[in-house]
């Protein structure tokens, strides 16, 4: 028991952070954390020492998040609503041209970043968290989430695209950035359009 607790305690902050960024409500996050750790304890005989403990734990915590999100429902507005889809359609291609400093824009968006992140699906959020913060490989994420690697990449692509579109729209509305003309003259080193 002590050894098991030590392992959990070593990673408690990252486990709690993953849950909190997935279920959002602090009270729910605390409950899910407790349930997840207890479920891990009750199933500790299924963990093989020497294998990836973090990945094993995340699989358990992720399923608790799925259940919690299903029970509490989507209390926030989904990024699948028509206005967000319009934003995606209009600004998807402009993002790189109009945002010179994404970090500064995100800082100015403040809590809107969290609101936009909440609008993603649990699967999209989880992929972004496991990759962006916890630095798991695509293969490890696929094993944690029990989905194909291709699905992991699709979740990352769509989640990030939705966030960029939503936050660019918000930043423009609040004046954090200004729209640039659709075409800009700049020194071109390219020989033409890419092969893509």
């Amino acid at each position: 028991m002590d050894e098991f607790l030590e392992k959990i305690e070593q990673h408690r902050d990252e486990f709690f952070r993953f849950i909190k960024r997935n279920v959002w409500d602090t009270g729910v996050a605390e409950d899910v954390f407790g349930q997840g750790v207890l479920a891990a304890y009750e199933n500790r005989s299924k963990y093989t020492p020497g294998t990836n403990f973090r990945a094993w734990m995340y699989r358990i915590l992720l399923n608790k998040c799925y259940v919690a999100n299903r029970e509490t429902g989507r209390a926030f507005q989904s990024l699948d609503h028509p206005a967000a889809q319009d934003a995606i359609a209009h600004h998807r291609e402009d993002f790189g041209n109009i945002v010179q400093d994404p970090k500064a824009v995100l800082e100015q968006c403040g809590d809107e970043v969290y609101r936009a992140f909440r609008g993603l699906s649990t699967a999209q959020r989880s992929c972004i968290l496991l990759r962006g913060i916890e630095k798991f490989s695509y293969q490890e994420i696929a094993e944690i989430m029990e989905i194909p690697v291709g699905t992991v990449m699709t979740h990352l692509a769509r989640g990030r695209k939705k966030l960029r579109a939503e936050l660019t729209e918000y930043a423009m509305e609040t004046g954090a950035i200004r729209s640039f003309p659709a075409t800009q003259t700049k020194p071109s080193h390219a020989t033409g359009e890419g092969k893509g």
Binding site: R17, K20, L38
Partner: protein, 253 residues
């Protein structure tokens, strides 16, 4: 942007490409695409930094969780037999062999069954997300061919003739894929604008046994199973679509 390019894009952002592939990908991009990619790299880094902040586990939460674990029973109590002599006589050497044999059988069974503490849940939450995972065109002929190529000798019933179509709306095939480390084929279906998969596994395999158990798990998305010849098929979705099991006709001769 097509799916392959989209995937390469993400792999570039996440450093999952080899050095050679990175160079090849960079060279394939137009100037505006290069700017967008550079911006995406910065955006993702800034997003991760922001999400990592201010979310550490509070000390009181950890203290409560630790107390909860410490209150759990650790090892079963060992009651001393009241009559040690009778206890020894009742078991003797044959009894000991029985225990050892039972333990070995349990060990073999647990080794054969892939351990999982996670219920089977459909990860994709929209029809578009699920459709993007298909490894084959979304029509019966191509899906049947895909199943046969993967040694699944099964035939599909025409969707429009299924009984479920009379009750549900917009039922149509999205394609098929291999899943669970390639151990199963899944049919991908849309029903009432919701994603549904039909897992097909060979009977008498560990995964088939897990699927059978999942039906009783309230946290699982497995709604129902059906034996079809040498296979077991299961409907997996948050949307009630048990009738879609009729889509698998039986063994192809």
């Amino acid at each position: 942007m097509n799916t392959k390019k989209e995937h390469l894009w993400q792999a570039y952002i996440d450093g999952e490409l080899s050095a050679t592939d990175m160079v090849d990908f960079e060279e394939s991009l137009s100037e505006s695409e290069s700017r967008l990619l550079a911006s995406d790299v910065l955006f993702d880094r800034a997003l991760s930094e922001g999400l990592a902040k201010d979310a550490a586990c509070p000390d009181d939460v950890w203290a409560r969780t630790k107390a909860l674990l410490e209150a759990q029973p650790t090892v079963p109590t060992n009651d001393t037999p009241k009559n040690p002599i009778l206890y020894r006589r009742a078991w003797g050497p044959w009894g000991f062999a029985t225990i050892v044999a039972a333990a070995m059988i349990t060990l073999m069974v647990s080794w054969m069954m892939p351990s999982t503490s996670a219920p089977i849940i459909l990860a994709e939450e929209t029809v578009d997300e699920l459709a993007a995972q298909s490894q084959v065109n979304a029509n019966s002929a191509d899906i049947e061919r895909y199943m046969h190529e993967n040694n699944y000798q099964l035939r599909l019933v025409a969707v429009e003739t299924l009984h479920i179509v009379q009750i549900h709306s917009d039922v149509h095939l999205l394609g098929a894929r291999r899943n669970y480390n390639g151990d199963v084929v899944e049919l991908l279906v849309a029903c009432c604008h919701q994603p549904v998969t039909i897992i097909i596994a060979e009977r008498n395999t560990p995964l088939a046994r897990i699927i059978a158990q999942e039906v009783a798990n309230s946290e699982s998305d497995v709604q129902a199973t059906r034996n079809i010849g040498n296979y077991v098929a299961a409907v997996v979705s948050k949307h009630p679509a048990v009738g879609l099991l009729d889509i698998v006709a039986g063994q192809h001769l």
